[in-house]
């Protein structure tokens, strides 16, 4: 059976034009997908967690849930972390669970676009859907982002080569500029590559902002970029009909972090005196935007939320997972839809290895290897349906294409079982 317009649950592009062929309950073909997406659909059965385990030994789902309830109800400072590679129903359940345990809730944006959120909360954001950008943008700037490695179809579907209503020529109708610390696949296909010194983005953004405002800077070069080039770029930006800066972790994970984004917003605000200009973060995990959205509408805050006082409090730097784990503050963790043992710096990962961890996962990961309890779950968007938010904030419905293995439930269902157990215990 052929499924059309399937949504890809891998990156923040959430491409919704895939064609997936299912035979006898197995995926046998996928069309329109990029290499990563193809791997996700075709390999979704490989290296799966085959059964629930407790202390590395196979257990029934009931035993694994009971052990999880025991760990969480005995913990003083449990951390619920991950969320970005699952659907919104599960995220909502995780919020409820974190509240019920009086713990801390955090998602992977604390190590990707957390600094973006910090800056946008201060200064606001001018944004549009990817559809509008595709139809109107004539100047695309990738700043510290590299879609040819991380968002493989972004350029063809939304930004670079796509033909749009007011950009009917596609690639010819758009100018593409890359600002990065190194040459990348994206810089090679761009019209211009501007090489900035590592950790020099803040200076370059501020110099551009001043130049757009008409200030004559006396410097000869800023962050390794000659002033002539800065002035020329400012003119190109001002002259665009509709410009976009797609920025990535090159800005959020280097020196300055949220201040880099603050500077980028300032530049874009300045440009809006001359023309239409936008700023869009290249969100990585397919539903990290949803993790922020759901957590915000339920707690008021997008990540790093503490429930220990019975009401939500927000403090990135304190209630963020890397800090909590590196400080040795968390005394238990529930991890879903992410692999912090692989993605956190070693001290934070060691902090995770020291405490009892419950992991809901499809595949064997370093985090599942460290966990006291591992519960296999269905893959959202392949074996379970749900909603995800694209990088521009557009919600899209994910489909269920095949049945999960017998006895394997969705993240939402397993979280629901643990939550029931916690509530049952509380009533006794």
């Amino acid at each position: 059976m052929k499924h059309e317009d399937v949504v890809c649950p891998f990156c923040g592009c959430l491409c919704d034009d895939l064609e997936v062929t299912v035979e006898d309950g197995h995926i046998v073909g996928v069309k329109n997908a990029c290499g990563i997406s193809r791997s996700k659909f075709m390999s979704h059965g490989l290296n799966r967690v085959s059964a629930p385990t407790v202390e590395g030994k196979e257990a029934s789902l009931e035993e694994a849930v009971r052990e999880s309830v025991g760990i969480l109800s005995g913990a003083r400072r449990p951390l619920v972390y991950g969320l970005s590679s699952t659907e919104c129903g599960a995220i909502s359940k995780a919020v409820e669970l974190a509240e019920a345990t009086g713990g801390v809730l955090d998602n992977t944006s604390s190590v990707c676009h957390g600094p973006t959120i910090l800056a946008l909360q201060q200064v606001g954001e001018s944004k549009a859907t990817l559809g509008e950008i595709r139809n109107r943008a004539d100047l695309i700037i990738f700043w510290g982002s590299n879609p040819t490695e991380a968002h493989l179809r972004h350029i063809t579907r939304y930004s670079g080569t796509a033909k749009g209503m007011y950009v009917p020529e596609g690639r010819k109708g758009r100018r593409i500029i890359v600002v990065d610390v190194r040459e990348t696949g994206t810089s090679k296909m761009a019209d211009q590559f501007i090489k900035v010194e590592p950790n020099g983005d803040f200076e370059l953004l501020e110099a551009l902002r001043a130049t757009v405002r008409g200030v004559a800077l006396r410097a000869e070069a800023v962050a390794g970029v000659p002033m002539d080039q800065v002035r020329a770029l400012a003119e190109v930006m001002k002259g665009a009909r509709f410009g976009v800066v797609f920025f990535g972790l090159g800005l959020t994970q280097s020196e300055g972090r949220h201040m880099n984004i603050d500077a980028a917003v300032g530049l874009v605000a300045e440009l809006n005196r001359h023309t239409k200009f936008l700023l869009t973060p290249m969100r990585g995990h397919y539903n990290v935007a949803g993790a922020n959205a759901v957590t915000t509408w339920q707690t008021g805050y997008p990540y790093a939320v503490d429930f220990s006082r019975g009401y939500p409090r927000y403090n990135p730097g304190e209630y963020t997972s890397v800090d909590m784990l590196a400080r040795g503050e968390a005394d238990a963790a529930l991890v879903l839809a992410s692999d912090p043992a692989s993605t956190f710096p070693v001290d934070a990962a060691r902090g995770l290895a020291k405490i009892p961890v419950i992991t809901l996962e499809q595949k064997i990961t370093p985090t599942s290897m460290l966990s006291r309890v591992v519960i296999p779950v269905a893959t959202a968007g392949i074996e379970a349906e749900g909603t995800a938010y694209r990088m521009d904030g557009v919600p899209i419905r994910l489909r269920k294409l095949v049945e999960p293995t017998e006895g394997v439930h969705s993240d939402e269902e397993v979280l629901g079982m643990i939550l029931e157990g916690l509530k049952g215990g509380a009533e006794k």
Binding site: F10, C11, G35, I36, S39, S43, L46, N47, S110, V111, G114, P115, N146, E149, A150, V181, R182, E183, K188, P198, N199, L249, G250, T252, Q253, S254, E255, R257, H258, G284, A304, P316, G317, E318, T320, S321, V322, D323, L325, A326, D339, A341, S342, T343, F344, P345, V346, D347, A348, A349, R350, L352, A353, K354, K363, I364, T365, P366, M369, L370
Partner: protein
Amino acid sequence: MNGIEVTLISGRTARQGIGLEEGKTSQGYIKSVNEVSLCPEDAASLGLSGDEPVTVATEHGSVVAHWRVDKGLARGTAFFPYGPWANQVYASSTDGTGMPQFKGIRATLSPAAGGKVPSLQEIVESMRRAEH
């Protein structure tokens, strides 16, 4: 030791994305993240050749990794894909932002004479051992 100073940058790659969807225990994933890229001139100045791995060291930690040449990198810049190997050298301090610095770190590269690239299992074990 004939090491060189570099600015280390971490990031995503398509190979890593493809590999991680096969599974973190798959060879595809492991090979995509246990190697550091440097420019041909830096590789030559370190006298690197063949299969001999390199040691990547920062103030914070060190790890032995495979290496590859990337002509797109400038001298003094090295690229280490996100993953358990790269994470051995990054600090967990976030300067109050929640975000560790994964890009633009001072590091030293040197030939890992006789060194061996740790397996995923060994990295996980070393995290566990740190608990005692």
